[in-house]
């Protein structure tokens, strides 16, 4: 009994770690750090799955954990780092809003999530905190996508959202069937690869990965129509 109590505490700690990496993303100035934050986030996610895997000795969870580590913890970060290095000039994040405002908004988001999920949701999985944190991470990921200018930061935001979703699923069910997790991981991998290719293509075509300038496509289309 004592052991399981320890386990939930450990898991809560790890979840908080995941949330912290997401919050940290708000203040990071350089693209490399963003990728690093994502790496830590993924490793924490791996740990989160590993702990119940060890305690319950469930082979499914082992597989899920190792796959998470392999794709999210190693392959995707390496790929992202490569893309970042390819961008020769500016490695700065260049957000629309100041870091302080970004942090404040994240805080508000977390408050809303905690306030609205405090009642009425019964968790069948292992932790109520993990659920709230996971939704907070999803929203912060979305916030990052909205407030950052560059395509690669948008990819990072998307990946954070995906990790949040993974955590939501895990907190509600204590591990989905392996085949589903396998599918999701594969999807994410493909998604990142495709987005990476797109980023490179966008830079080739428009000499910038600043998505601000993608509105010009829209404008051109409207003028064509008009």
């Amino acid at each position: 009994m004592e052991k399981s109590f320890d386990l939930s505490l450990v898991n809560d700690f790890i979840s908080v770690g995941i949330l912290l990496t997401a919050i940290a993303l708000n203040t990071l100035e350089r693209l490399e750090s963003c990728v690093k934050a994502y790496t830590y986030n993924s490793w924490l996610l791996f740990l989160l799955i590993l702990v119940p895997a060890v305690t319950t000795n469930n082979p499914h969870l082992y597989v899920a954990a190792s796959l998470t580590l392999a794709t999210k913890g190693i392959v995707i970060p390496l790929f992202l780092r490569k893309i970042v290095y390819q961008q020769k000039l500016v490695h700065q994040v260049q957000p629309y809003i100041s870091n302080l405002l970004s942090l404040t908004l994240s805080g508000i988001l977390i408050t809303i999530v905690y306030a609205s999920l405090s009642k009425g949701i019964s968790v069948t999985g292992f932790s109520n905190h993990a659920l709230k944190i996971s939704i907070a991470v999803i929203l912060i990921g979305l916030l990052i996508m909205i407030t950052r200018r560059k395509a690669i930061t948008m990819v990072v935001g998307l990946l954070f959202m995906e990790n949040g979703l993974f955590l939501t699923g895990f907190s509600l069910t204590s591990g989905m069937p392996v085949i589903i997790e396998l599918g999701i991981l594969f999807d994410v991998l493909m998604c990142v690869i495709i987005l990476g290719v797109f980023i490179i293509q966008i830079r080739h075509k428009f000499y910038s990965v600043d998505l601000d300038k993608s509105t010009t496509i829209h404008d051109q289309l409207t003028t064509l129509k008009g």
């Binding site: 629309y96 609205s116 949701i121 929203l139 979305l142 996508m145 909205i146 509105t215 409207t222």
Partner: protein
């Protein structure tokens, strides 16, 4: 069971007709019109079966256990099936010649067959879902046919049509949902049984919505704007079908929902229908009068005729709510008779107009003239159509308008003062409409068929092919037959009248229309015989007493001017000028006269005259609404900025709002 086989046989033929033109060989495309010709005969037999025998359930596919495609026929649908079949037969025969040199022949064949099938489906629908799906299919296919020639004008007409018809469908959908909510039934039979559960207020809303929704399709006056633009834009065989039967599906909807399902309502329902009918009739014919585009003119005339049909139906509703069921049956007979007649002669006139447009390559009457010598048969059939639509005796329009007059006069017997007041006024409106219709068709026939050719094209016009003439001839024959045998015709659809009003009106005798209630009667058949014998007698008398005469041919009298030119003739605009001046207040016309003088004020070199009428509804109702929607759309457009971040922001905002308000 034979009837089922006939039904499936007809269905199969139309489907075959829709598929065959897709097969490549050009020779196969002929079958696109041969199959529906036979199919129409089969469906006509099926419609007769429904009219004479018992209602029929046709087993069909079910989508879910709750909902399915249900087709069901009764006497009311039988009547409309018969209408569609008669016109389809003639139009199919006509189309064999008409589409010979048409581009995209195969597509035309497919659309033609599916269009007719969708109209059958609307009429035979047994429940709400089937009805709506068929209704929308009909609208979409007719949209494709309106924009068939891919010209800019057709495209804008098609857009207007699509918008109007969908607004109409929205009203119909709301009416159906209300019916479903208060009766718990989706099928029409179930709704009809449970109508007593519907509160009176809801019934009124359903009535208003059904009239607006179906009225849009039928072309009642404030909602008519699409009609004069969409009907002329379609190829003529399709215009004939659209004007002849498609707008009748709107009448069918009003009959089915208001008269059949909702049953006898308060008196003001009927009065509202009468007022709408009178307004459509008067304004329709007044606008028709100023129109120089032949097909657009016919489309306006369709609005007028829909008005006349509604006058009969409205009178029937008023009488029914006063408990005068036999009189109500007579009024309903008038309405249905005019529905049948309008199908026949408007179909005929549109086919005639199609032949003329086909031969002269112009829709403008001012460029025609003298066609009676070049296209004598077409002119003859067109004349029969014109005489019928002007309600002159011997032809069918006379019978139905006479009946409608009687129906309106019956309204005196209703209790309320309003009905007593409305009845003579709408009768006067109908009389006015009749007079104007004659002026209109004198103008159309006179300007385009008589006189001298006004353009090169009119000079080179040739008589159309045999199949086109056959199609028109068939309809002309029907116009005559329903005109001189009204008793038989009424007997044909007396079962649908019985179903709608609960009473029977059977006129006695073969060619005699008599009403015991007010002891008025008329016999078109004896009129016909008298006229024929008078004619023969006159010929004989001339032969006997006239002696021998020599026929000499000479030029028309030309007042001493060296030669007559076509520019000396009355133009279409000039012909209608007196009427336009009289009704200046309705037309809101603006005249412009510009004279350039060689020597002022005696020698005018050129006089330019223009007379524009202001389309009241378009300018003062539709234009402001359109502008408002445009400005609203302009404001909404800012939401779609093309900025990815903003779009993501919308998602975030939505998520947060959901989190806050949902939990």
């Amino acid at each position: 069971m034979t009837s089922m086989y006939i039904y499936y046989f007809g269905l199969l033929l139309f489907i075959a007709g829709a598929i065959i033109p897709l097969i490549y060989p050009q020779k196969m495309k002929r079958f696109a019109y041969i199959f529906p010709t036979v199919g129409a005969c089969a469906f006509a037999a099926f419609g007769m079966y429904l009219l004479f025998d018992h209602p029929l359930d046709i087993s069909a596919v079910s989508i879910t256990p709750l909902l399915g495609f249900v087709f069901r026929g009764d006497a009311i649908s039988g009547f409309f099936i018969l209408l569609i079949s008669i016109l389809t037969f003639s139009v199919s025969v006509y189309s064999m010649g008409y589409t010979k040199n048409m581009a995209n022949k195969g597509v035309m064949g497919v659309l033609f067959n599916t269009f007719i099938l969708s109209m059958y489906a609307v009429i035979l629908s047994g429940n709400v879902i089937t009805f709506l799906i068929s209704w929308e299919t009909m609208s979409i296919i007719s949209y494709l046919l309106v924009t068939f020639d891919r010209e800019e004008e057709s495209a804008s007409a098609g857009l207007l049509y699509a918008i109007m018809t969908h607004v109409g469908t929205a009203f119909i959908l709301t009416a159906f949902l209300l019916l479903y909510k208060y009766t718990g039934h989706m099928d029409f039979a179930g709704i009809k049984e449970a109508t007593n559960d519907i509160p009176a207020g809801i019934k009124t809303i359903v009535f208003v919505f059904a009239v607006i929704g179906f009225g849009t399709k039928a072309g009642i006056v404030p909602l008519h704007t699409w009609l004069p633009r969409a009907h002329p834009a379609a190829p003529s065989n399709i215009s004939s079908l659209m004007s002849g039967v498609m707008i009748k599906t709107g009448i069918y909807g009003i009959l089915r929902i208001v008269v059949d399902i909702l049953g006898v309502g308060p008196e003001w329902w009927g009065i509202a229908i009468i007022v709408i009918g009178a307004m459509s009739a008067v304004l329709g014919i007044l606008y028709a009068l100023t129109e120089n585009d032949m097909k657009r003119f016919l489309a306006y005339s369709s609005i007028e005729n829909i008005g006349i049909i509604l006058l009969g139906i409205g009178a029937s509703m008023v009488l029914a709510s006063n408990g005068l069921h036999t009189l109500s049956a007579i009024a309903m007979t008038a309405g249905l008779y005019h529905t049948l007649n309008h199908t026949l002669f408007k179909g005929l006139l549109f086919l005639g107009a199609g032949s003329v447009v086909h031969a002269t390559h112009s829709k403008n009457m001012e460029e025609m003239g003298g066609l009676i010598k070049l296209m004598p048969y077409t002119a003859f059939f067109f004349l029969i159509g014109s005489v019928s639509i002007c309600a002159l005796p011997l032809f069918n329009g006379f019978v139905s308008e006479w009946l409608t007059f009687q129906a309106l006069l019956f309204d005196f017997k209703s209790a309320s003062a309003v009905a007593k007041l409305i009845a003579p006024m709408s009768g006067a409106a109908l009389a006015f409409t009749g007079a104007m219709a004659i002026a209109c068709f004198v103008k159309v026939f006179g300007i385009s068929f008589l006189g001298m050719p006004r353009s090169q094209h009119a000079e080179n016009a040739k008589e159309t092919s045999t199949s086109m003439l056959a199609g028109m001839g068939f309809l002309s024959l029907f116009c005559l037959l329903t005109g001189i045998f009204p008793g038989h015709t009424i007997k044909l659809f007396s079962s649908s009248v019985f179903l709608l009003t609960g009473a029977d009106y059977s006129s006695s005798g073969m060619g005699i229309l008599s009403m015991r209630e007010i002891s008025s009667s008329i016999s078109p058949l004896s009129l016909f015989i008298v006229m024929i014998s008078l004619f023969i007698a006159a010929v004989f008398l001339v032969r006997i007493f006239g002696g021998k005469r020599k026929i000499t041919y000479g030029n028309s009298w030309d007042s001493g001017i060296p030669s007559l030119t076509s520019r000396m003739q009355y133009t279409a605009t000039a012909f209608t000028n007196p009427i336009r001046v009289t009704f200046k207040k309705i037309y809101l016309s603006k005249r412009h006269t510009k004279v350039s003088y060689a020597l002022k004020p005696y020698f005018a070199k050129a006089i330019e005259y223009r007379d524009d009428i202001t389309p009241f509804f378009e300018k003062y109702i539709y234009q402001p609404v359109t502008d408002f929607i445009h400005s609203l759309a302009g404001k909404v457009k800012h939401l779609q900025s093309g900025d990815l971040h903003l779009y993501l922001g919308y998602i975030l905002a939505t998520l947060i709002l959901l989190l806050i308000f949902w939990s």
